[in-house]
Structure formats: structure tokens, C-alpha cells
Subunit: 203 residues, 2 copies
DNA sequence: TCTCCTTAATGAACACTGTTCAATTATTAT
DNA sequence: ATAATAATTGAACAGTGTTCATTAAGGAGA
């Protein structure tokens, strides 16, 4: 059996990514293997390696898909007020992590062997993510420089990200089920209020 | 060769953990394997399994050691002023993550197969970590309830933790080399100022 | 229709992994 | 010296990522 041409290269890639996504979601990150993906799509391991350079490559492509999905959800939200917008972003982020815990883990915990860099596509997407927060902060604090803005946007996002990660790792030990959501509100409100009062009104 | 008694059970455990720590630090988390640890301490794989129930167990014990080391560093710092204390804690945390990136990764990214819980010892240590921040916040905001305090202590820690993780994952994309340190200051100062002005002075 | 060439597709092979457990052997007790 | 005990081993099993010689299907030219 050769040159079956049941699927084009691109179709095969899509099939494989879909199968991999399903395995990760249902059996966890560590259950992902080339043989499982191959059998899931009805091809052999060798065929996989004609589409992806290796498992690492497949993981990054999967992560790109995941981040695309997250970015789409973030774009879909349309609060005008920048403060409300930031809250909405944070909530979407937290809920996305909760809904897709394994894919989220792969996105932030996968590292290439031998310190290979993450692909440019993903780097661009993360930059896009930052730009959303940048925009919100920019309208709230028009006086800040681009550098200042970048630094603070990353600070906000780190906070949200930290909450998401600790929550997923069961390292928060909170009684309330919506503890993470409450923390999110405390974080964003606290930072915005604190940064607003910078210089003025210092107790 | 049996009953060599070169080392007691406890000594063997210690040897193995030390070797594992070294492997993780020098070759990365994914390079850790039972055979490598075994050969490093001059025993066979089988002997490892008489001291640890499996690799997962060894990882958790390694993580307990790492967290002990971090807690010791946190205790060593002795700023009286609660605000300064929080800053110091954050800096120690960030620097610890930078100095021991692989052990830190293992600590926060390791998950047991089949959703087994993390051991009680580690849970207690994390609670201790929270208690430090609790104490600082408690003296700054004596009016808060224990619940309120817990929620905010975790919020602060999530922020610091998020900065540490994104920095290690090269997902911050900042020009300045000390960007993470600046973010840390912005985070803590912002949150404290914002939480201080809560209710009063609301713009 | 019958070759010939190209190439999609395979799966055995290699070196690794965690884990188990019968076999071996050094120490202790009798 | 002998028997009992338990520390230690390493082969075996099922899995992993990756490579690559082999196979066979499709198209082109006669």
C-alpha cells in the first residue's frame, strides 16, 4: 500500500493534530505518543514523520492551535470599558484553563529538548495576547510609555496566569469552589487601583 | 552480592535523592530516569525500588527537598517592615526559580499518573509558604478576616509565581534583563496600594 | 496493455524508558 | 557447618521516539 492518496499532506496533518488533541484531552499530556496518534488516524508511525519532523514539532503545532482557540475567545468578548474588558479577559483565560486543563498544560509546560526555541508562530500569538491587555491599559493610563505599558501588561497577565496554574495544580487549598475567580477580581481591581493612585494620595 | 550493608536504607534514600537532584539540575527534568540514578549511586534499578515505590515517589520526595530549601531561604530573611518583607519574599522566590530552574520545574509541573494526590508533607510545606505571606498581610491589614487574608495571600503568591514561570518559559519577551524584578515590584506595590485604598478614596 | 519510474506508506529495528520478580548471594542465627 | 534471612541483582516485559530499507500503488510512455 503506497500512494494511497486517500488524504493530501495537509489533510493528514489536520487529522493527526485532531487525533493528538483528542488523546491529550481525554488521556492527559503524558499519554500522547506517536504510535497512538498513528493508529488513531489509520496510518503508520512512519507516515507521521513525513508530516511532522518529530513529536516535539507536533506538540508545538498543537499548542499553536490551542492558542488560536484561546485568542478567538478573547476576541469574541466586546466590553467597551477597559476595566470590564480586563476582567472579562481574565475570566475567559481562567475558564479556558479549567475547560481544557491538559491542552493548557501542554501549552505552558512543554519544552523542546536541547533548548530548541519555540516556533515563531507561537511567539507572535503570545505577542497578540499581550497586545489585548496593552490596549486596555493604554486607554486607562494614556500617560505611560510603551515600555511601561509592556511591563505592566505582562505583570497583569502573569498574575492571571499564576492563578490559573496553581488552581490547575491543586496548589491553592481554598475552601470556596470559586476561589480562583475571587482572586482574579482582587488581583485586577487591586492592581488598577494601586497603579491609579501611584504618586498621588500616597499614605 | 546481597546484604552488602554498605549503606542503610536511609543512606541509600539520601544517596539516590542527591543523585537524582544532580541529574535534574544538570540534564533537565526529562533526563531523569531510574537507571541513571541507579548507576550513579552504584546500585541496580531493583534496589531503587526497595527504597522508593516508583519514580513518581522519588520525584515527590525530591520536590519536598526543594521546597524545604526554598522555605529555609525565606525564613533566613528578616525584614521587619511587612511591605519590605513581601518584596524580599518575592525576590527570593524569583531568584530561587532562576538559580534552580529544573528543580523548580519539577516542583510545579510534575503530576502523578492516574490523578494520585500529592503527598501530605508537600501540602504542609505549601501551607507554610502561604503562612509567611499571611503574616505580612495580617500586620498590614489587621481588619481582614482569616478567609479574606488567605484569599489575598494566594493572590499575591499567584502573581509572583506567574512571573517566575513565564520568565523561565521565555514567554515574557522583554528587552531589559531585569524585567521580571521590575514586574515583581509593580505587582506587590500595586496590590498593596490598591488594597489599602479599598473603599476610601474611590475615584 | 505492458513496462518503468516515482513516491506514498509501511513496519521492523534500535536504543531508550518504568516496573516486576525469580534467582542469587552475603550476612546472621542456630 | 548449616540453615534461615533478606539485600541485591539483572533479565524480562511492555511501552516509548526515531530511522530507513523495503514494499507496493499510481502515473507516464510505448
Amino acid at each position: 500500500m503506497a500512494r494511497r492518496n486517500d488524504h493530501t499532506r495537509e489533510e493528514l496533518r489536520e487529522l493527526a493534530l485532531e487525533a493528538a488533541e483528542h488523546i491529550v484531552q481525554t488521556q492527559g499530556v503524558e499519554a500522547l505518543s506517536t504510535r497512538k496518534v498513528a493508529t488513531a488516524i489509520g496510518y503508520s508511525v512512519g507516515s507521521l514523520y513525513s508530516v511532522f519532523s518529530n513529536l516535539d514539532d507536533l506538540c508545538w503545532q498543537l499548542n499553536t492551535r490551542t492558542l488560536t482557540e484561546l485568542l478567538e475567545e478573547l476576541e469574541r468578548q466586546q466590553a467597551e470599558e477597559p476595566k470590564a474588558c480586563l476582567h472579562a479577559y481574565g475570566l475567559i483565560y481562567l475558564q479556558f484553563a479549567q475547560r481544557h486543563p491538559e491542552r493548557w498544560r501542554l501549552l505552558f509546560e512543554h519544552r523542546s529538548p536541547e533548548g530548541k526555541q519555540m516556533p515563531d508562530a507561537l511567539e507572535t500569538q503570545i505577542a497578540t495576547l499581550f497586545s489585548y491587555i496593552d490596549r486596555c491599559l493604554g486607554t486607562l493610563f494614556p500617560a505611560w510609555s510603551a515600555n511601561e505599558l509592556a511591563l505592566r501588561a505582562r505583570t497583569v497577565w502573569s498574575g492571571v496566569h499564576g492563578i490559573a496554574q496553581l488552581q490547575l495544580g491543586d496548589k491553592l487549598f481554598l475552601q470556596e469552589p470559586d476561589g480562583a475567580t475571587q482572586m482574579l477580581a482582587l488581583l485586577i481591581d487591586g492592581l488598577l487601583k494601586g497603579w491609579q493612585q501611584e504618586g498621588e494620595c500616597h499614605a
